[in-house]
Amino acid sequence: MVSRTVTILNRTGLHARPAAIFAQAASRFSSTVRVLKGSQQADARSVLALMLLAAGQGMEITIEAEGGDEAAAVTALAAMLETDFDREDTIGVVRSPP
């Protein structure tokens, strides 16, 4: 299992649109990915679970992955949260692992 703790940088946190982009990116990996905030945890592929974390800008969350591509998953998803990935003029496309 690989995990990493990151601070959410994008302005609106993991609300509807960023959560959808994040969940879709997470579903590209074969590993099981969880997002932890305090005592709460969410399946990273579930938009609703991500939104229920109510994770706003500046909060710390931990990404945990377990599976064949766990390292790549954590690296890609953490990098996503550390950028302002839902800005209107950009899109948060994370490339699938090779």
């Binding site: 649109r17 959808a20 982009i21 938009v47 229920l52 109510a54 899109i91």
Partner: protein, 589 residues
Amino acid sequence: MLRRGTEQLLVLKGTGASAGIAAGRVVVRAADAAPPAEPPPGDRQQEAARFAAALADSKRQLTEIAQAVRRQAGEREARIFAAHLAMLEDPLLAGAISAYIERDGLAAGQAVERAVAELAARFLALPDALLRSRADDIRDLGARLLRNLRGRADAAHAAGAVLCAEDTSPSEIASLDAEQELGVVTERGAVNSHAAILARALGIPLVIGVSGALSRVRAGALVIVDGASGEVLVEPDQATLARYAGRRQTPAATAPDDSPAVTLDGFRVELAANIGSVKEAAAALAAGAEAVGVLRTEFLFLDRTAPPSEEEQFQAYAAVLRALAPRRVVIRTADIGGDKEAAWLALPSPQSALRTPHSTFRTGENPALGLRGIRLSLRQEEMFRTQLRALLRAAPLGNLSILLPMVCDVSEVRRAKELIGSVQEDLQRSDLGPWTLDLGPICLGVMVETPAAAVLAAELAEQADFLSIGTNDLTQYVLAADRTDQAVAEWYQPLHPAVLRLVAATVDAANRAGKWAAICGESAADPLAAPLFVGMGVRELSMTPASIPAVKRAIRRWRKADAEVLLSEALKSKEAAEVVELLSRLTAD
């Protein structure tokens, strides 16, 4: 509640959530307090199957609503339903419902009600107001699932009616037709709910927060809804009705946006119009078209008893070229045959050249694969020469390009070029006026609408000045789905990866040859697909004039670099649904 002057006019006050005036008879939709009895629950397997069917129906309806909203309101508003689709399939919603059925043995309807209530409660407990309002979206999804489980259609409303309810939902607003002057009055609601956002985008007057509306307004009462002031006038007199009728106008249409469509990083896409008659040229200009990407010339050939003369064609082409000069006008040679039959072609004609000896011409069995487009033109050489003469004579009057339809290989283009050269020589020898001396090389394009042409795009690009990809026919041929046959409509998917890969390869071949590529099918008009074409490096999108403003806005939101990444993702997809999901989610709100 106020009473105004001496009029016995009841005025209810709420909050205006979407401006506009509606007047009509009230239709009351009571909250679904007493749902109809469910059929007696079956075993777990039967209930799971009922839920699966309701889930599939709901997904199909939401996809349809998203498409309709995209057409009527725009991409941003359509994202609401793309987000609904994602929520519907979420493990916490669909997954929880399945678990209640399969693990706990609940009936499908009960499982939906329990999962929706629990999930909505969790959202309502969040500190953030925006996240709390997702509870409304979840309830909307739950209501849709229940309607589908119980075999009830979305409610239809009579024209000119005012809907009065405890609350409304994005689905309900999307089901209203703005042109029927419907208004909505609710007891609850929020100005920034998805339902209100949608009402504003669709121009449906909405007043929310009218306390006691359901008890104070009876079904059938005549009311005026003022979505700007938040007032609801009950049983107004004739004078009041007349006063409001004068105000019942939609906001003034904005002036045409003539500035070009350029991405955030400076890639310019020319937006052109597809037109099918001389009089549509004006509409193209009014919509801000920079060119005409396709003038279909079939209008000259169909619905008549004899072929058009050279002079008649010359007058038509000259009129369009003059109207649009100096803008480029791409005129496509006749694409008759196929499903566009010209009666006179099959009739005995005094001009023997026009008599068709080919029994294959009227093969009703499979006209899309029959003698049509360039095939027919090359068979009916005199008809084709007449059209070319008219085109070449009109060429000096504007900026003409000629486009050849239904090409399958290079030999057809070569033959057409020989004929154009021969007609040019004839014209130069004849005494038609001084301009014929100016005939330079004519800009010639090839339609890529058969799989063969797409595969041979590099070879065709060598022979032509540009390639114009007709995605409608290309889709029907690649997926073997007749686009006029409702029975196979679900197979006809312009965003299918098999189609997209061919389109991308065609554009790439054109760009490599230093030629430009245009898209002129219906997908050119789809704002959702616009970033894909930007990513491919398409230079021109040609569409029905009305779609130009929305596509222009879509292009301006993107960077070409991002569009290229999106495209590479889309091209990896295995089915159309994946592409649509990718496009919808990346732009999901």
